[in-house]
């Protein structure tokens, strides 16, 4: 009986200590959120600086303007703060788009050339915005290298690891759950923005079909596996839902964008 009382006291002491420590807001005291935010900002700048050093960034308004309009439309209709997103267009024929920490959104001209309709392009943009909104990049990095290594990267003391992490972000997939979440969020964004959500599914179907005999690099597809299953999941998700299908850009503006992108390498 005495032993049982002492054991109970020990248990109460443990939970009591926890309860007392629970009365403090450790997240604020230890500035956890602030450290995470600062680290993310520094990592975003570090990765983007490393990436742009080896790429041609396009700033021409004929290309950047219409893409900015598409991103702004998606953001406005979905209550996403547009100013947070840093849109970059890169002159590269690889079919790719990705998100870097701190909401850097990178789109390759190869992707713009590959998409056949505006809704396909908006679908891919929506997918990447969803990755940014859900903080998937930082989650992936935290899993792969951990917070302490990420902080050391921002201090410039893990250069090689930073390069490897950048390579991983730009050319490999998130796990299945995160990809699925980004797909379905993108479909939601599109429906709210009156853009046909089938566009993303169509793009995934087409890429899956073309994949076998496509010799060129389609990074966005190779980094986003099981595209057929994902396309089917999107179709199932939007089935029975009401949405409008309206173009964001005029037909002329969309064709002009495609033409400008085609001209870029000439």
């Amino acid at each position: 009986m005495k032993l049982l009382l002492k054991f109970t006291f020990l248990v109460v002491l443990f939970f009591g200590t926890w309860f007392v420590l629970l009365q403090f807001d450790w997240m604020t005291i230890l500035k956890v959120q602030q450290i995470k935010k600062t680290t993310e900002e520094k990592l975003g700048d570090l990765f983007w600086d490393m990436f742009k050093a080896e790429q041609d960034v396009i700033r021409r308004s004929e290309i950047a303007g219409p893409i900015d309009s598409l991103v702004t439309h998606l953001c406005r209709k979905n209550g996403i703060e547009r100013k947070k997103l840093k849109l970059h267009i890169v002159d590269n024929d690889v079919v790719n788009a990705f998100t870097l920490p701190d909401d850097h959104l990178v789109v390759f001209t190869g992707l713009i050339k590959e998409v056949e309709t505006e809704s396909e392009f908006v679908g891919v943009l929506g997918h990447e915005i969803a990755h940014a909104q859900n903080n998937h990049v930082m989650k992936k990095l935290m899993k792969e290298v951990g917070m302490s290594v990420l902080i050391s990267m921002t201090n410039g003391s893990a250069g090689e690891l930073a390069r490897e992490s950048l390579q991983s972000i730009t050319s490999s997939a998130f796990d299945r759950e995160l990809e699925r979440e980004a797909d379905l969020d993108a479909a939601d964004y599109m429906m709210k923005a009156d853009v046909d959500p089938e566009g993303l599914a169509t793009f995934l179907y087409r890429m899956a079909d073309d994949e076998r005999d496509m010799p060129r690099a389609v990074f966005w597809l190779s980094s986003h596996p099981e595209s057929r299953e994902r396309a089917e999941a999107i179709i199932m998700y939007i089935k029975g839902k009401d949405f409008y299908k309206q173009p964001v850009l005029s037909d002329e503006a969309w064709k002009a964008l495609k033409a400008e992108v085609e001209k870029e390498k000439e």
């Binding site: 005495k2 032993l3 002492k6 443990f14 807001d25 450790w26 997240m27 951990g146």
Partner: protein, 150 residues
């Protein structure tokens, strides 16, 4: 954690001076436990396995040795539960969608405090038993008396 020290405690049945060899073995059980405490926070099962192996290796030893091996073992058992919860909470934060939160930080601080208390008590016990002195911990000593009768 309170520590009750006494060269001879009638209820524990130690009415003799342990020999050099016994004192060394009993002290080693705490040293093993000490290593377990250090490894056990990131990997809790180490707590139990290390002390468990030492206990099994010395179960045929003298009463003094067995008694201290048992006390070291059961003190690790309670750490195993609290460390395991902290371990899996951390795994969920690293690999799943769980966010770092104030309750998590408070829990890890509590676990650290208890591990530190155990660490200090273990070092003290290792030193004292090496001198041949008997050290009975609050609660754990009495539980050991029940589990390890003469």
């Amino acid at each position: 954690m309170d520590i009750f020290e006494g060269a001879v405690k009638p209820k524990s049945g130690f009415t003799y001076e342990p020999g050099e060899n016994e004192a060394e073995k009993a002290s080693n059980s705490y040293l093993m436990s000490l290593i377990a405490v250090m490894c056990g926070l990131p990997l809790p099962i180490v707590n139990l396995v290390a002390t468990g192996f030492f206990y099994l290796g010395n179960r045929d030893g003298t009463h003094f040795v067995r008694w201290h091996c048992t006390q070291a073992l059961i003190s690790q058992l309670s750490l195993l539960f609290m460390n395991s919860a902290g371990f899996w909470w951390t795994i969920h934060i690293i690999f799943y969608d769980t966010e770092i939160s104030s309750p998590y930080i408070a829990y890890m601080m509590t676990v650290l405090l208890f591990n530190f208390a155990d660490f200090v008590a273990t070092i003290y016990s290792a030193v004292q038993t090496r001198k041949g002195k008997h050290v009975s911990w609050w609660f754990y000593g009495e539980l050991t008396n029940v589990l390890c009768p003469r």
